[in-house]
Structure formats: structure tokens, C-alpha cells
């Protein structure tokens, strides 16, 4: 059989029963489209959560007062009620532990902030200059808090972009403006760059002030709410974490680690916890999509089986006028391939469009991955080809008279 004839016969067979071909293709399109779009939502969520975790800093260890607790994504790093960490603890970590590149203690609480009649409630972070390097914070305009200002308990503030536009409106330069935090006057000396984070650890809605100022004027105590420690590299993360734990246990005179009055958390753990949750989420979505793929697959299977069975007579006739079994096999293989290929291509495009639409209209980040395309395409193509080819192969082995007599 000539290639041109094979293609022409396939074309005629596919177009001969348009409704059947369209339904087969539709089954494939729905299966593939849903797998691709659902997995794209799952993976999009995963990468957006991971990048938001990465945006809070790198090689970070957080030390917080209170007992150890689990952290999940979305939940804030809840502070323990106990106030057990002091600036001395932070200094000790800086001085006594090797492999630490920077330490930034914070005294953070939410306070009412007012400026020229506008007011908002936001996170006020009392901290030290090292905070910028520990938390990957960049300054857009002005400057960050200096050591001088920490020493002199200066009432200066560095504002994050969201808070700035809440108080002063969009596009207004906040530098030099006055604000009141808990009725205390502050002057704005700097504006941070947007980090684009949402939810978890959003650093775009904050005001930074010297830690000494926060303790004296706002909280009125000497405690600190978090110590952010930056390890020199990823590999030393857990050893630094262990050293911090040992050091603080000694300093707080606690012998049993179970009774620790602080907790430590390293970034790798956060990332891992978050990705295991988003992983589960992706698997869930993939499972739903998998069901539609299976349903689509059964549709393809059903179509292919009925087509071939229905055409056993035709197979007999073709054999009777001289077709070899291979000619028959090739024709049905080609038909199945053509249907699944068209369905597959349309399905991939549809899945892509759906995931773009989801990220545009629902604001959910989506990532279309090559893996999901290959998976979806592979599964439906396999089903289509196996169930199109296998019965045709069986029928092509019948002798022509048996096939012609088939009802």
C-alpha cells in the first residue's frame, strides 16, 4: 500500500463518520486539557509558595520565644506568648556561634499608625541594620536604620511600599514625612523595595524602626519576638540551628530540650513543609484530572472498539480484494494515531488556554509543565492507539469470509 493511499484512506475513514471522530477527539481533548490545567494550578501554587518563602531571606534560621510548634504554609509563624528571648541572646548567637553571617533580632508587634488623618494597623518591626541582609530587604529610597540610630533610640522609620500607599496614597514620596505610631512621632527616612509577596511573611506591609526605640517607646519591655539568623551557607543550616539550640538552652539554664522556652525553625524545614503540602495539593488535583483522563480514555477505548468491531465486515472486504493483514493494521493504527494526535494537540492547547485563563481571571499562579503535557498526551495516545490497533489486528487475522460474515 502506498503512503499516499494510506493517508487518503485514513482521511476518508476519519471523515466518513464525523460524529464518531469528533466525539473521540473530544474525549481526548477533555482528558488532556483537564490534566494539564489542573496540574498547572498545583504546580503554580507550589512555585509561588516556594518563591514567597525564598523571598523572606536565604539560609535563614528563625528563633522564637515559646515552645516548639508545627508550621504550615499560610499560617503565620505564631509567636509564643512567653517572652523569653533578649538582646543578649542575640548578641551571644552572633559572637559564639561559628557559621553565622548575620543576626537580626526583632521586636515586632502590630500597632495603629496614623499620618495626616489616614490611619492603618500594621506590623511594626523594631530591628537592627543587619535585618536588610538577613531578610533580603532592599531599599528603594532613603536609607535603612543605622547603628547610630539604634544606639540613640532615634524615632525614625523605614516604610514598606504597601503601608506607604495606604497612608499617603499611591506614588507619593513618603521620605521626610511624619507619622505617629501608638501616638509617638516618627520621621520616615527610607522606603523599601516591593518584594511582591502575598500572605506568608508579606514584607510589603510593614514599618521598620530601631529595636531600641521599639522597646522603649512602643512595647515598654526588653523582650524580642524573633531572632533571624543567617547561616553562611545552606549546608551549615542544621548545624547552626543545633548550635543555637544548645547555646540558648545553656543560657536559659534548661537541661531537658523538651522544656525549651524557645523554638527554632530553619528555612529548609519551612520550604519542605510547604512543598509537602502543596505536593499533596498537586497530587489531589492530578488525581481529579487523572479521573477525567481515565473517563476520556474509556471514551476513546469505547469508540475505537465499536469502530473496529463495526468495521470487521469492511476489514473482511478489504482482505478479500487483496489487502494484507499489515495493510489493515497500518490503516487502523494510522486512524487511531491521527485521532489521538489531533485530540492531543487540541487538548494541550486547551489546557494551556485554561491555565492562562485561571491565572488571569482567578489570579492563581499556574505553571504548565512539560511533564504534565507528556503524561496526558502519552496516556491518551497509548489508550487510543492500543484500543484502535489491537481489535483491528485481531480482525485482520480472521479469514475474509469469517470477517465478512461477522455481525
Amino acid at each position: 500500500m502506498l503512503i499516499s493511499d494510506l493517508i487518503f484512506e485514513t482521511y476518508l475513514a476519519v471523515t466518513a463518520n464525523k460524529a464518531r471522530s469528533v466525539l473521540t477527539i473530544l474525549g481526548i481533548v477533555i482528558g488532556i486539557g483537564s490534566v494539564i490545567s489542573m496540574i498547572s494550578v498545583g504546580q503554580g501554587a507550589q512555585s509561588s509558595i516556594q518563591s514567597s518563602i525564598q523571598s523572606i531571606g536565604s539560609n535563614l534560621i528563625l528563633v522564637m520565644p515559646g515552645a516548639q510548634h508545627e508550621v504550615g504554609p499560610g499560617a503565620s509563624l505564631g509567636r509564643g506568648s512567653a517572652e523569653t528571648l533578649t538582646l543578649d541572646d542575640a548578641d551571644a548567637i552572633q559572637k559564639e556561634i561559628s557559621g553565622v553571617s548575620a543576626v537580626a533580632p526583632e521586636n515586632s508587634r502590630r500597632y495603629q499608625v496614623t499620618a495626616k488623618g489616614q490611619n492603618t494597623n500594621t506590623q511594626i518591626v523594631g530591628t537592627v541594620p543587619a535585618y536588610t541582609s538577613v531578610r533580603n530587604l532592599d531599599i528603594d529610597e532613603g536609607s535603612f536604620i543605622t547603628d547610630e540610630e539604634v544606639k540613640s533610640t532615634a524615632r525614625v522609620a523605614v516604610i514598606a511600599p504597601t503601608t506607604s500607599s495606604d497612608l499617603f496614597g499611591d506614588g507619593v514620596d513618603p521620605i521626610g514625612k511624619d507619622i505617629q505610631i501608638k501616638q509617638v512621632d516618627f520621621k520616615i527616612i527610607g522606603l523599601t523595595k516591593s518584594k511582591g509577596g502575598t500572605g506568608f511573611g508579606n514584607q510589603d506591609d510593614m514599618i521598620f524602626i530601631p529595636i531600641s526605640t521599639a522597646q522603649r517607646y512602643l512595647s515598654g519591655d526588653n523582650y524580642i519576638t524573633t531572632i533571624s539568623v543567617q547561616a553562611q551557607d545552606q549546608s551549615s543550616l542544621s548545624s547552626v540551628q543545633q548550635q543555637i539550640t544548645d547555646l540558648l538552652l545553656t543560657r536559659h539554664k534548661i537541661s531537658n530540650p523538651q522544656n525549651a522556652d524557645f523554638s527554632t525553625l530553619n528555612q529548609a524545614d519551612i520550604v519542605q513543609t510547604a512543598s509537602s503540602v502543596t505536593g499533596t495539593f498537586t497530587i489531589l488535583l492530578a488525581a481529579i484530572a487523572g479521573i477525567s483522563l481515565v473517563v476520556g480514555g474509556i471514551g476513546i477505548m469505547n469508540m475505537m472498539l465499536t469502530t473496529v468491531t463495526e468495521r470487521t465486515k469492511e476489514i473482511g472486504l478489504r482482505k478479500a480484494i487483496g489487502a494484507k493483514a499489515a495493510d489493515i493494521n497500518l490503516q487502523f493504527l494510522m486512524e487511531a494515531t491521527m485521532l489521538t494526535f489531533f485530540g492531543g494537540v487540541i487538548g494541550v492547547i486547551l489546557g494551556w488556554i485554561i491555565s492562562l485563563a485561571i491565572s488571569k481571571f482567578a489570579g492563581i499562579a499556574t505553571t504548565v509543565s512539560l511533564f504534565s503535557i507528556i503524561l496526558a498526551f502519552g496516556v491518551s495516545a497509548t489508550i487510543g492507539i492500543v484500543f484502535g490497533y489491537y481489535p483491528a489486528r485481531r480482525a485482520s487475522k480472521l479469514n475474509p469470509i469469517e470477517a465478512l460474515r461477522y455481525e
Partner: protein
């Protein structure tokens, strides 16, 4: 050259054995024009299918041009059907939802005839089978029984096979069209030396052949020359 030796065909369904052919033996030489007659259900079509390499006997030997057909592979049987035999089915067996021309050219597809020649060959065969030109582009399932029969005949002739096997080729045709078809067969037989075997109920048709084989209950009851 066709030679059947002690051909038996037994169908077994639900433990009931039906012996359709019983020890059929005969020889047909190249260039013969043979009619097979017999009552309905006597096994005529079954013999024809075996001769056409479409079906295999339960036992017995069938030699075609010196080859033992029962020993041939599926692909070799396909080669025989494609190159040597033109078969007109009693039930026509046309491809539905396909035009008359496409039905007639289909054997040429499998014979890998160059595409440019196909339509011409098909038209020639259709004329020989007596089908009006205004039906050539109709779908085969929009034809009358007689028209379908002529398409089936044209399809059998298109590849210019050396053996033409026709199962009741004039069964659905009026006398005049039947004559056209029989004239075609006779011409192919006399002028081009094709072997023609046809099955018929009608004495008028059988008379055209040089030899008449009569079958009853799966056995040959008479085999005579007719000059």
C-alpha cells in the same frame, strides 16, 4: 490451473457438525468457462470461496497453479487474491459510504497500481460491467441491487485477473443487462483466455459456459461439457 482433491468443509457450532462439502474433487484448466449450478444451500458459494483463497477447507487439498494453497501463509493468500483472482460476491460486499469509482479502484490501491492509471482502469471495468456513467459518482449504498451487482462485477474485473469467480453475477439483473455482463465474461474468456467460473441457478446462463458442474448437498452430481 485449479485442482481440488477431496475437499471437505465442516462447520461446527454448538456441537452440531454440518458437513457442507463432501469429498469434492475436480480440475479446471486455464481458459475454461465453467458454470456451477445446484439448489440453494448445496454449497456452491462455499466451493467458490475456497477456490478464491478466501476460505480454507476443513480438509483436502487445493492446488492453484501447482501451489498447495492450504500451505500458504496469510500474506501469500492475499497476494493470490490480489493478483490472480477477481471475485464477485453474491452479497456484493461493497464499501458503504464510498462512491462507485472508489469501490472499483480499491483493489488497485492494494495492488499498488500507479494512481494516474486507476480511474481509467476503473472506468473501463465499469463500462464492461454495463453500469451507466451517471451512476459512477454515486455512493454505493444509493444504488439499486442490480447496479450494486454491476459495481461488484467491475471491481472484480478492474485488475484484469486471470481467474474470475462470480457468485450469481446476473441474479439481480434483467435479461438485457445480464446479457451485457455475460458477453463481457465470454469475451474475456475467448479473446483474452481468462478462466471464468460462475455460479447460477438459471439454465439460460449456464448454457453460455463450456462446462457445467452440478452440486447437490455438498457433492458433485454431474460434471459435463457443454458445446
Amino acid at each position: 490451473m485449479i485442482e481440488l482433491r477431496n475437499i471437505n468443509k465442516i462447520y461446527i457450532s454448538d456441537d452440531v457438525e454440518t458437513q457442507v462439502l463432501k469429498n469434492i474433487s475436480f480440475k479446471i484448466d486455464k481458459g475454461e468457462f465453467v458454470a456451477i449450478t445446484g439448489p440453494s444451500g448445496s454449497g456452491k458459494s462455499t466451493i467458490m470461496h475456497i477456490i478464491g483463497a478466501l476460505d480454507s477447507p476443513t480438509n483436502g487439498e487445493y492446488f492453484l497453479d501447482g501451489n498447495d494453497v492450504s500451505k500458504l501463509s496469510d500474506d501469500e493468500l492475499a497476494d493470490i487474491r490480489r493478483n490472480k483472482i477477481g471475485f464477485v460476491f453474491q452479497a456484493f460486499n461493497l464499501l458503504p459510504r464510498a462512491t462507485v469509482l472508489r469501490n472499483v479502484t480499491l483493489p488497485l490501491v492494494y495492488a499498488e497500481t500507479v494512481p494516474e492509471k486507476r480511474t481509467e482502469m476503473a472506468k473501463k471495468a465499469l463500462l464492461a460491467a454495463g453500469l451507466d456513467e451517471n451512476r459512477w459518482y454515486h455512493f454505493s449504498n444509493q444504488l439499486s441491487g442490480g447496479q450494486m451487482q454491476r459495481v461488484a462485477i467491475a471491481r472484480a474485473l478492474v485488475n484484469n485477473p486471470s481467474i474470475i469467480l462470480a457468485d450469481e453475477p446476473t441474479g439481480n439483473l434483467d435479461t438485457k443487462t445480464g446479457e451485457i455482463v455475460l458477453d463481457t465474461f465470454q469475451k474475456l474468456n475467448r479473446e483474452e483466455g481468462h478462466t471464468i467460473i460462475l455460479i447460477t441457478h438459471e439454465y439460460e446462463v449456464a448454457k453460455r459456459a463450456n462446462r457445467i458442474i452440478s452440486i447437490r448437498d455438498g457433492m458433485i452430481v454431474e460434471d459435463r461439457n457443454n458445446f
